[in-house]
């Protein structure tokens, strides 16, 4: 199976060529106006798990981006305050520090910009930034930390920067596939090796899922939801360009096995379901990406692709729930159906 190894090494060539192999990913890019400090990361972690950022003090960032579920959510779409539901599936925070665009439609260009979005989204945390700032300024523990980290009282800008700084620490370590590329021949199964070959060939995955994150950091219309009466316009909502209708960000595929369900609307439950969708060539619509063609994969080839995708699960960051200032309990994961234990 030497030739398979060569194909896989070619696939990982970008990683090697650009970053060597100290790990699967390069150092996290840090914006000049938001340098990382331990204190800021600690503050950001508290804010990330703090439900007081929401209108009814029940929803935290970690409600939808739960460390226990791959820093995403196994619900089909977001569920926010009062059981309100959104229209899109929660993307994972894992390795999001490397993404050039945030949100499925890419409307946020940075983690800082993204961090505030859900707070004032009426179906997520449903709060106003003014209220959140006022609430946190009433909690001495937060006021003290903001003074220490930013030299100011609590501000929306500070909240965004602290949460973003914390999220930049949520980076995964090597996956079995990375170890395989590094020379550990038995790190992945023969099926996964075959799947990697398909991934970069017959299954056409790398035409979009390329590079160290397995994302081209671009937007594509694969037809999801475009057969509905009122489809989600995706990228068009952000750019107002009709050519972007139905396009959504190419998600990275590291740890993808953990972050079901899939696609921007959570409409596919399993990796196999997603592969079936692509095997059919997506869903026809006038703006369907011309890269999409039916694949004619066999059943065993689909299984091999699943095995390969499962081999992309890396070492996850270990994060303990923080102690929150003011005695509130950190919140992670969705409410139980009874609305009680999380």
């Amino acid at each position: 199976m030497k030739w398979v190894a060569v194909v896989l090494v070619s696939l990982g060539g970008l990683i090697h060529a650009q970053f060597g192999f100290d790990g699967p990913l390069p150092p996290v890019p840090i914006p000049a106006d938001n340098p990382q400090t331990d204190e800021k990361v600690r503050l950001g972690k508290q804010l990330y798990f703090d439900p007081r950022l929401s209108a009814d003090n029940t929803i935290s960032c970690a409600t939808c981006h739960d460390p226990k579920t791959g820093w995403a959510n196994h619900g089909k779409v977001d569920t926010g305050i009062g059981g309100r539901t959104g229209t899109r599936n929660s993307g994972t925070v894992l390795d999001s520090a490397y993404m050039e665009f945030q949100f499925w439609d890419g409307r946020a260009a940075s983690l800082e910009e993204q961090a505030l979005g859900p707070i004032h989204n009426p179906v997520e945390m449903g709060e106003t930034l003014e209220n959140v700032v006022a609430k946190l300024n009433g909690i001495p523990g937060y006021v003290e930390q903001f003074q220490c980290v930013f030299g100011t009282a609590v501000t929306a800008d500070g909240i965004a920067k602290a949460i973003a700084a914390f999220e930049r620490t949520i980076v995964t370590g090597p996956s079995p596939f990375d170890r395989y590329l590094a020379g550990e021949k038995d790190a992945i199964s023969p099926a996964a090796r075959s799947g990697a070959d398909l991934f970069n060939g017959k299954a056409h995955c790398t035409s979009c899922h390329s590079g160290p994150l397995f994302s081209d950091q671009s937007f594509h219309n694969v037809g999801i939801g475009m057969d509905r009466p009122k489809p989600d316009l995706g990228r068009e909502d952000a750019t107002k360009n009709p050519a972007d209708r139905g396009k959504f960000k190419t998600p990275g595929l590291r740890n993808v096995a953990l972050t079901f369900p899939y696609l921007h609307d959570g409409s596919e439950r399993t990796l196999r379901d997603v592969i079936e969708l692509y095997d059919r060539g997506g869903i026809p619509n006038p703006n369907l990406d011309p890269l999409m063609v039916p694949l004619q994969l066999t059943a065993s080839e689909k299984e091999d692709l699943v095995a390969f995708l499962e081999s992309l699960t890396g070492v996850l960051p270990e994060v303990e729930l923080p102690e929150l200032p003011g005695g509130a309990q950190p919140v992670a994961g969705p409410k139980s159906p009874e609305g009680g234990e999380r």
Binding site: K2, W3, V6, V7, S10, L11, G13, L14, D197, L198, N200, G201, K202, H204, T206, S207, S210, H220, R280, G281, P284, D289, P290, L291, V293, P294, L295, Q296, T298, S300, E301
Partner: protein, 398 residues
Amino acid sequence: MNRRILLLAAFGLVAALVAFWSPPASGIPVFARKYGYNCTMCHSAFPRLNDFGARYRMNGYRLPGEEQKERTVLESPPPFAARVHAGFDYVNSERDPQGQDVTRFAVTGFDLLSAGLLGQHIGYLVVYPPSLPEARGIAGQQGSLEMANVVFSSLGTRWLNVRAGRFEPAYAVFSDKRRLTFTPYLPYEASFPGGPPLSETQEGIEITGYQFSGFSYAAGWINGSSTNRLSDFPEDLYARVAYVFGRGEGQTSGQRLGLTGIFGRARPQAGAADRQRHLRLGADASLNYRQLNLELQYFLSRDQGPLWGEGSEVTTSSGSAQLNYFPMTSLAAFARFGLLLTPEEIDSDAWQAVGGARYYFVDNLALHGEYAYRSQQLQGQELRAFEHFATLRLDWAF
């Protein structure tokens, strides 16, 4: 005969062992190398294109929808590649004065290839089989510029693309250069004496337009049947329309139907004063179901008699049906039947049956086994000539 079968089996075993334990080919051909893709991105079984590859070619060697990200040849790895096939051939002809009896190991094909983008809308392709003298173990080939063309793609719209130079015209519906078999398509070989077989590349200009998974057209003006290509004014024209039903491009998915017409005027002999009309009309289909593909094509030709040395118009018909099966990425199997019917005065009916398989050790290295039988009526002779052809070859591109 037993000795030949033993030789064939021994070669198969050795080829399989050598290929299995040998290092992989050190590179991948030019387009795959440019993008870092495996060959199977564009080929269902190299050299045959899949739907993605068909779109890439239609789009002027640019990834559809990704045109803005494309790199030219100056920004990409060196745009050179080669294809070689070598192996064991067995040819046995009976009662054919032009036939041959061959049992040998041979290098039977060597192509040098360069392709890429010269600019955002300008692609090119050059295929050059260098001249190889006949020698022990080498079948020999004439050096020629098999293809050298520039394609100006999407000139304001996908409905206007221009290819100029020497190229494979669109009337070769199932590309003779990318066919799975080593045995040529019988309908493409059929022509009036001295006329150009459809498998031959041509100098000229071709315009094309397309909609992915939909309607496409092509029209061209080529040297074609010019008897003296240096001085004869080209008078061969062709046009083709095709429509894909369903998803895909009819290569591995979707159902493609097409109509082709070729009209030309040729001299019966070099230097003859008058040109004579020849006309060919064709219909074709490429039908797909899961991993199965069925290629059907039919041509009806009506040529003025002098082109055949006859007084009155000569009508011939030819067709072929090929079933391809791709049960897995590493295996392709094929079976084809071809038929040529000629009028009584020409008396050159022929039929052909081909079967075989290709096993891919890697995307760009295949072990190819094929058997073909051809039976042909020889004009004025009572008994038919026939030919057995069997080959076991390694076919690789790098």
